[in-house]
Symmetry: C3
Subunit: 675 residues, 3 copies
């Protein structure tokens, strides 16, 4: 079933309603009324598909899929490994997880299984292969959705063994491991690989090299499990594309390691709209959309979102009228090719019974939520031609999962709070205010192709990022880095001889000391006039990095404490490019001013109007056209005037007025692609 335009649908759990066929029938009618063209089936259906070991019941699912197909609704089919049946846990307790404290889990919850267990792998292989055989070539089925919100770890003996093999493969000799982890400290030298155990609150938990490699192993083992499920599907005869649904700022896995395993990135987005000002929530969500899109640098799927309030946040607020449209189109604006909900019909019982859904317990079509869902469906139809188009960013921010793991685990200058994401968001905000599309990269990526790259707190240097940065600057790029960068190598061993490691020449300085500030403490940087206008000052907090400049020029200098007068922001010209070094955790306006100056300097400013706070401008393009999304997350109306420009209205008000939560979309011919 070839789909054109956007995927519009969401999770659908008919197995909860098999004894009420009238409801199943009504569901189809409702979906069609709301322009829904897709449902995701099979998430958590294992018990229904295999009620006893080896006893399969596919008929109900076949009926559902056939019926959907007949009604023009496609299916994303999920493997059921997100939660296992009770009988499996009872017959083979080894499939349940062992926690870091070495307690065995009982049956319950969702991801509560060992990824290593051969028994579990065998069981999932069988059901996945059967599913593939049964439905993998059904014309309704378009994509495989592997498991659900993968996450967590297991410390069972099987995982311990797998971990030991993993580190042996990595290090070769135990001496190399001892050196890499500096186990001589506290006399923790390992006599052999067999002696290594995973981190535990009851045992070793401050050996950072061990912690880091454990996290890497967990990612690799999870990825291996996904490969295993893909193998089962493949061997069942289906060659459809594959996705996994990822989560907001999830630190349990390095999602970048899955990029070779999936055909689409997809994620589940549950912002707490109306908790903060909408413009804040929108910015935060935009960052996640960009992170997800950057994994494969192609359109992603919004696999889950909520039609109204969730039920698991501390306060679950109704989405105000229009918010659903704004949130849905925001995903599209950032590169999504779908808008999907959890879930189509609200469950009657158990933990998510009060989670918002397209069809609620009342069950009528005459609800505010159903009307809004229908409205989004119409809008997506209007925008059909945009599906499949891409985002081309010329600015990027380095966000490396492994570096962040190491930095946040490490005991250092501020165990209380590093404010890492805050700094990253300030940079993102500075760029987005100017309407720039932004990629979020990890250190495995290449920097070429970008004009402007930021690296906030790039604590660890790995993948020879030193050389990539050096070359990037040498060839004319502008690179901006902050304090607490280039401190350790890939095993969290400190670099000797000065930092930022191997980039002191590029930045024209050496970092000498890092002062941590208590809550409430402030310092500030005052402009020398060489970059910002003279007398300009920016407040800073949390960190003040003392540096010794060599060839670098001081652009701001500290105003108080014993390092008054020391450089607080410096620039160095290196071959054809420029390298900026930020010494302190400055306030937002610093990043706003910095981004404006750099973006102007690099000629990246493209939007032909001023963008006020709370208005978001984003672009997508295909070989023929460029699309401009303008979204208004403010209270006040926003008037955009593009009459005498190349941009033509695709969706929105002719007058150029965009109301609260409103979206306008413009298009123009893609000259660049043609050229």
């Amino acid at each position: 079933m070839k789909q054109t335009g956007f995927i519009y649908g969401g999770d659908y759990n008919p197995e909860q309603w098999l004894d009420t066929p009238e409801i199943l029938k009504q569901d189809i009618e409702y979906m069609k009324a709301a322009h829904i063209n897709e449902v995701t089936l099979g998430v958590f259906s294992w018990s229904a598909l295999e009620p006893q070991e080896g006893v399969y019941e596919f008929k109900w699912l076949r009926n559902i899929i056939d019926n959907l197909y007949e009604n023009g609704i496609s299916v994303i089919l999920s493997t059921p490994s997100g939660a296992r049946p009770k009988w499996l846990a009872d017959s083979y307790p080894e499939v349940l997880r062992v926690n870091a404290d070495r307690t065995n889990n009982l049956f319950g919850g969702r991801h509560n299984h060992c990824y290593t267990s051969p028994v579990y792998r065998e069981a999932i292989y069988k059901i996945d292969r059967k599913l593939s055989e049964q439905f993998g070539n059904h014309p309704a089925v378009t994509i495989w959705h592997i498991s659900n919100e993968l996450g967590g770890d297991c410390h069972c003996p099987l995982c311990q063994k797998a971990f030991r093999q993993w580190i042996e493969k990595k290090y070769g000799t135990i001496e190399a491991l001892n050196k890499a982890w500096n186990t001589a400290f506290w006399s923790h030298t390992y006599p052999s690989f067999e002696q290594v155990e995973s981190p535990s609150p009851r045992g070793e938990q401050e050996l950072h090299g061990l912690n880091l490699d454990w996290k890497r192993f967990v990612t690799d083992q999870t990825a291996d499990f996904v490969s295993w499920e893909k193998k089962a599907i493949w061997e069942g005869g289906s060659e459809l594309p594959v996705t996994i649904n990822m989560m907001y700022d999830y630190k349990g896995l390095n999602y970048h390691k899955f990029k070779d395993l999936i055909d689409f990135a997809s994620w589940d987005s549950y912002p707490t709209w109306h908790k903060e000002e909408e413009k804040e929530t929108a910015l935060d969500t935009a960052l996640q959309h960009d992170f997800m899109r950057s994994i494969l640098k192609k359109p992603f799927l919004l696999m889950e979102s909520c039609p109204t309030a969730t039920n698991w946040q501390s306060v679950s607020k109704l989405k105000r009228p229009g918010m659903l449209g704004a949130a849905s189109l925001q995903a599209v604006a950032h590169g999504a090719d779908s808008v999907q909900y959890f879930q189509i019909r609200q469950s009657r019982g158990a933990s998510e019974k009060f989670h918002g859904a397209v069809i609620d317990h009342y069950g009528g079509m005459d609800t505010r939520v159903f009307e809004e869902v229908t409205g989004v469906g119409s809008q997506l139809l209007e925008l059909s031609e945009i599906a499949g188009s891409t985002v081309r960013a010329r600015a990027a921010i380095l966000h490396d999962c492994e570096s962040r793991w190491a930095m946040e685990d490490s005991q250092g200058p501020r165990n209380k709070d590093l404010h890492y994401m805050d700094v990253l968001k300030k940079i993102f905000h500075g760029l987005r205010k100017l309407g720039l599309d932004v990629d979020i990269l990890d250190m495995e990526e290449e920097l070429k192709g970008y004009d402007l790259v930021f690296a906030p707190m790039l604590y660890m240097f790995r993948c020879d990022i030193e050389t990539k940065i050096r070359n990037f600057v040498a060839k004319g790029g502008t690179f901006v880095m902050t304090y607490w960068s280039g401190i350790v190598n890939e095993n969290d061993l400190c670099h000797l001889g000065g930092t930022p490691h191997q980039l002191m020449e590029v930045f024209g300085l050496r970092s000498t000391e890092l002062d941590a500030l208590y809550e409430g403490e402030r310092n500030s940087g005052k402009s020398t006039g060489a970059f910002f206008e003279k007398e300009k000052r920016y407040e800073c907090r949390n960190f003040c990095n003392l540096i010794r400049t060599d060839s670098a020029e001081t652009l701001l200098s500290f105003e108080t404490d014993f390092y008054e007068g020391y450089p607080a922001f410096a620039r160095n010209s290196y071959e054809k490019g420029k390298a900026y070094y930020i010494c302190a955790d400055f306030e937002e306006s610093f990043y706003d001013d910095l981004c404006l100056k750099l973006v102007e300097e690099k000629g990246l400013l493209k939007v032909p109007f001023d963008i006020p706070e709370g208005v978001a401008v984003t672009s997508r393009e295909n070989p023929l056209k460029k699309f401009l999304f303008i979204q208004n997350f403010r209270k006040d109306k926003f008037l955009v005037n593009l009459r005498n420009t190349e941009w033509k209205l695709l969706m929105g008000d002719d007058t150029g007025v965009i109301g609260q939560y409103g979206t306008a979309v413009y298009w123009t011919v893609n000259q660049e692609e043609r050229a």
Copy 2:
């Protein structure tokens, strides 16, 4: 030993002082000086009564009881199951509890035993029966006190088995259970009853139906244990009445399930007087007294209270002069037939050694506390004729333990805090300000006989409350219900087709959406003039319920947010009565104004003077007389003038002046009873 008048005494632990007979002798003298006529013996005496398995030592207790009897002091005798001896735990480890996380408890603490264990039941049977044989017909002994502050649960294999039998008995088939708990969600379908395990943080903890049934099972198993102890006493030859001592707002057990097992309700009251303003503490305590009294709708016992400061609160404040009297007489005013303390003589060591007592470590009679205790004794003698009289409430509030369990466990619109008890207290305050006596009912009770019934957040509908409410209104009653009512059935499955379930016609409306407000967010309801005076407005927070009215009339409407203008408070006339629906968590003055209007409308206002904040008016009655208690919990004096009324002074100042913490009691002939 037939007692007339009030029981006055408390917990007495002579087994801690057997080697100092001069102290035991002094105790009796002190009790008599303080007008104490009762002591509670045997709480935690198992080790002293049965120091080794099968070796009993009753002589010391016989001496104590004989001596008390000779001095005119009666005995409430406790079974010792509140804490078991070390030898029992060491010989039979199965008697110790297993926690929800499946760790086994070691010996220690108080309620640390399995209610299911046949070994524990056998052991307690033996000692209880012996106690009954030895003392169950002693003329000093008047009441049996089963165990002590029952509570907690056990997850051992024996309890798991008993739980499986319990659910099998309830559901009959595993299919019925799976449907009731909606286990299809997250694929948690149970293949058989044998596979069900109690909730656990290491396993299943979000299957609300399981959680709810586990709580019900724990109550039933605890009640069964009480029956078992009663059986031992009965078979030992004693037929004295029985009580259990309950606790403040305790959510571990559904106390209503014990009503057929006990002859008296009794409870342990430890308010933190002087932490809040006394009027707040008094209101809160009044609610608990009324809750306890409503269980059997007859006089209850104040089994424990503290003569001065406790030692286990975070700050243990001295009771100011007069406070002890006010607190003690408040219990009496709400229907208590006793005032009892923990404890008569302060322990020298272990965890409660600094808990206030009638006789302290110093040991003299010349203490402020002893003088106050003596004063209360005198007052109770003055009021003797009131003992045995009852409270007749015409207003009631529905507070259902099972509904609250389900609501508070459920993940819903505000996991942070539902403010359930706050709403209940605002209603209670509105009624009590007018001097109304109030019953606190669970859903198993009948509503007939009341004029006015409130149902705050009656999330679950069970016991066919729909019909009871419908009939109550149809026959002329006034019923007031709030948002978040009638949402689920007795297994926490959501009602389909609209809420409040089966009462949409009675209330003339349907609830469509429930908005949750963040801390700090506010809305308000503005009067339409149809009920409150025009322009009147009330602030609300936490919840705003969006409704669609049918026949209901809008009395207040929301003032802000997208539901500005929607009904915030509505009234429907249904047959002979009226049904009010409150859509938001309104401020206290809303409930004050509402109660006043409804009480006036129903003609329930009886007290012939205005009651200011901080003055509490309560009544009791017997077939001959009615009694009016007026208590002053304010700083300022209160002057009551009942000279030209039917009321005559029984206790208090002739002038009508009631000082801080003072109590006046009036009486009149009970015309209604005679009529």
Copy 3:
């Protein structure tokens, strides 16, 4: 290697750098440049010294020590028991600890071994004896450092058995134990010693007598372990002096119980300079220095301190220029004979890789920190003659570890917070402001020799402190005690018959009730004019003690609450001395005024100038000279004028100016000693 002057050095871990001999060589050069004359070796070196069971490698250590010796650097040699090798834990799991919740630890962390285990004792005996044989008479080695920061407990079966033997030895009969612990409460009577188990969150945790004896046992068992290590060293042939390094306000051990085992007290000082005002931090640190010095009443060692920021505090701030000198000399001013750092060279990896060090990852000598370290080295050389001199305090404060254990474990009037150390610090501050040297004593000490002794919240009376206090006052001493004193005996059993136990005559009063105040509540004491000037008032909080005075004179009386007019501060003359009783937790100015009056009265004021807040004056003396340290912890300069006095400048500015963080040292001839 006989050292004169101060020890200057710190922890050095060459085993982390054995594969980089150039770094080891550089280390020596750097040490010499910084005037470092000592390093502490062997802390956490077990894996390097005994990489497999019974396989020893001492050569590397010999090379290091020889090389240090040749360069004039002495060695404090540590036994390696602070952390055991992985092979030991793997071969003999019994060496790992069992937690209070009875879970077994895995390998990891530092102090994670059973002090009782014969296997562990045997293993440590072997390595310690070998170390002693190899290095115990090496001319470079001067002191043995046993283990590292001893602490924690173990609940394994071996420890349970040892504990049972300990209590049997203490109590003789189980009846005596039951009486001492008042186990009749809650029916917890023990049938025999075999039935006793250590406290556990899964079992017994509120039996205060058990908790207290367990803490005592843990101290005794730890001390026994130290004895065992000393035995190994001794039997290896070395008779060098011994120390253990203690920790800031550590409550896990009663350090006073180690005084017969060690030749020097030493401790690890990590104040959070610049978090509070420096004068606050200085006062707090001064108290710890005095506590440590008072254990042996002779010079102690500052075994660890940080050259700049640590890495394990929630915020790790750089030490501002000069702060290192001020902190280092403060230790000397309070009686230290060393200044030592953790560590000489910063580790490359693992948990303390970012802990400040003399030589950092950069590795150059041209760092701010290295320059400051070198400056401190110079100052210590200037002050050489002071090393070995002592402090002679005429005022003392009673701080008894066992009393504090009992008081803080006990459930009493304020479980929230007793503010014990706050009160102790207010007294300490009052005395230190006047330049008085202060000893911090436990109850085993004698009081004679002091003029003025304070006892804040001396909850427990043990070691016949009643008699000591009585005699002290009788013979002319001034004794000041607060509320919550003399409440229990050494087993935490309450004293009967009135408190303060056996001292009611000495203080001329009896304590009747103790009121606890909520946060925010205040009372005040108003002067009667008999001591402080009339109309003077002091605010109080937390506690108000109601007393009945007999012969005592009221000096302050309460101003509010029902005890308005009751005594709040009282004085009694008893034979030749005076006993003061403080009834409430008064503000700091009360203690300032009180100390001033008492110090003047006793003629203890010796410093010939006024000491402003933030300036600290301390003295040391030897038979020939007295030394006066004046340290400025304020922002402003301080000018001291001692020109026309007996005092001569030893270090500092001729002008008498002492800048921020500056120190001046003066000397004079010790007349007293000569007389």
